[in-house]
């Protein structure tokens, strides 16, 4: 959530899009004078996307004041902390399926851990960090070949691991968007928007 007063500046819009999708005249000029950098592997691409959203959630978890961790805007929704715990827990549900292991801490059944198991801000931060790091390790270990393997996904169907990783990344993005609104409700600017 960016302020539209700032957004209405075409320069900022252009800058944001340049940073986001990597379009730049500078890049084009470089492309003409230098040999192109080798393409990343698919696993490296996935790893970048995974770390990008994961680290945004970690930054929020670290940044948000502990005494506001139980804040929520409306009664029928998750608190700040429960949003983070849910995002990380779903990551683990999927990481465990893909890796066929039992990585990560015991957070009970499902993907909505209780604060009882993660009482402090430090506990929540650690859990989110672990989920991002463990997912990154599995992506790296399995490489491109791992992305083409299939795993049982929701709805009792098999899905390619690449689709499952992408689903987890998108799911984290959705909860990141909600937490952006929680930030502003507390007169705070989300870490990624401090430019």
């Amino acid at each position: 959530m960016k302020r539209s007063t700032k957004q209405s500046s075409p320069a900022l819009i252009a800058l944001t899009l340049l940073a986001a999708v990597g379009t730049s005249l500078y890049g084009q000029a470089q492309t003409q004078s230098q040999p192109p950098a080798p393409a990343l592997t698919r696993a490296d691409e996935m790893l970048q996307a995974w770390n990008q959203i994961g680290n945004k959630l970690v930054a929020m978890a670290q940044d948000f004041p502990e005494d506001k961790y139980d804040f929520k805007l409306q009664k029928d929704e998750r608190t700040f902390a429960l949003n983070l715990l849910h995002a990380a827990a779903l990551d683990y549900v999927l990481i465990r399926r893909i890796s066929g292991s039992n990585l990560g801490p015991d957070f009970g059944e499902g993907d909505n851990p209780s604060r009882d198991a993660f009482k402090t801000k430090a506990d929540v931060v650690k859990f989110v960090q672990q989920a991002v790091a463990d997912g990154a390790s599995v992506i790296q270990q399995q490489g491109d070949a791992g992305l083409d393997k299939t795993t049982k996904f929701f709805g009792n169907r098999l899905a390619h691991n690449s689709s499952i990783w992408t689903f987890a990344i998108e799911h984290s993005g959705e909860h990141y968007g909600q937490l952006v609104v929680y930030y502003r409700a507390n007169n705070m600017v989300p870490p990624d928007s401090r430019r």
Binding site: S4, T5, Q7, I13, T16, G22, R42
Partner: protein, 207 residues
């Protein structure tokens, strides 16, 4: 004696129902039923169809929240609630959130298709003259149509290549559009809830 017979009969019925249920579960996991068998005869998923499915997923969710917000609330921003201790000054209205997603879709996906970004899009907030809910939703739908066109260009041969006017590989661009839309979907969900509207995807469940 009669009670024992009834008990045995019940035990047989329960056993039969349980066995039938297990059989069906096993069938659905291991042996395709008729519709599944039909599905397996379809072409296997490709990189294009896989990404297209992702785009369809976020398209459905964003369109649902765009439809769920009443037109007279399209200019809602949390700033208007004057929440004590909050600072929403100047943040996007609901309408601008929708237009931002659509405009970004054009910027992100057009390098894949080679299409020109429409002249009406001057910045990331989309055309300023789009005011009605119907027009804004049409703009959104058109942007996702470009997304489907972009997904269709993906092949295993070109997905790691960088298209002209971009530094990111095709696959990254295609999926970044989806991830970006989900970020704003999360914000739009909060805008709906601030207006007492349960997001369509959350109706009937706690998530």
């Amino acid at each position: 004696m009669k009670q024992i017979r009834i008990f045995l009969l019940l035990a047989v019925v329960i056993f039969a129902v349980t066995a039938l249920g297990q059989g069906q579960a096993t069938n659905s996991a291991a042996t395709p039923s008729a519709p599944q068998a039909q599905q397996s005869q379809q072409a296997p998923p490709t990189i294009a169809s896989t990404v297209d499915r992702e785009i369809s997923g976020v398209e459905k969710q964003i369109l649902e929240v765009a439809e769920a917000m009443p037109e007279d609330k399209y200019n809602f921003s949390p700033e208007s609630l004057n929440i004590p201790g909050a600072d929403y000054k100047g943040v996007r209205t609901f309408a601008v959130q929708v237009k931002h997603v659509a405009a970004s879709n054009y910027f992100i996906w057009s390098p894949l298709t080679g299409d020109k970004v429409p002249e009406s899009i001057k910045d990331g907030n989309g055309p300023a003259d789009l005011k009605t809910k119907a027009d804004i939703i049409k703009f959104l739908k058109d942007s996702f149509a470009l997304g489907h066109k972009a997904a269709a260009t993906l092949t295993t041969q070109n997905m790691l290549q960088t298209p002209e006017k971009s530094k990111s590989p095709r696959l990254r661009l295609a999926t970044f559009g989806v991830a970006h839309a989900f970020d704003h979907y999360g914000q739009m969900v909060e805008y709906l809830r601030m207006n007492g509207i349960v997001p369509p995807a959350s109706r009937g469940k706690s998530d």
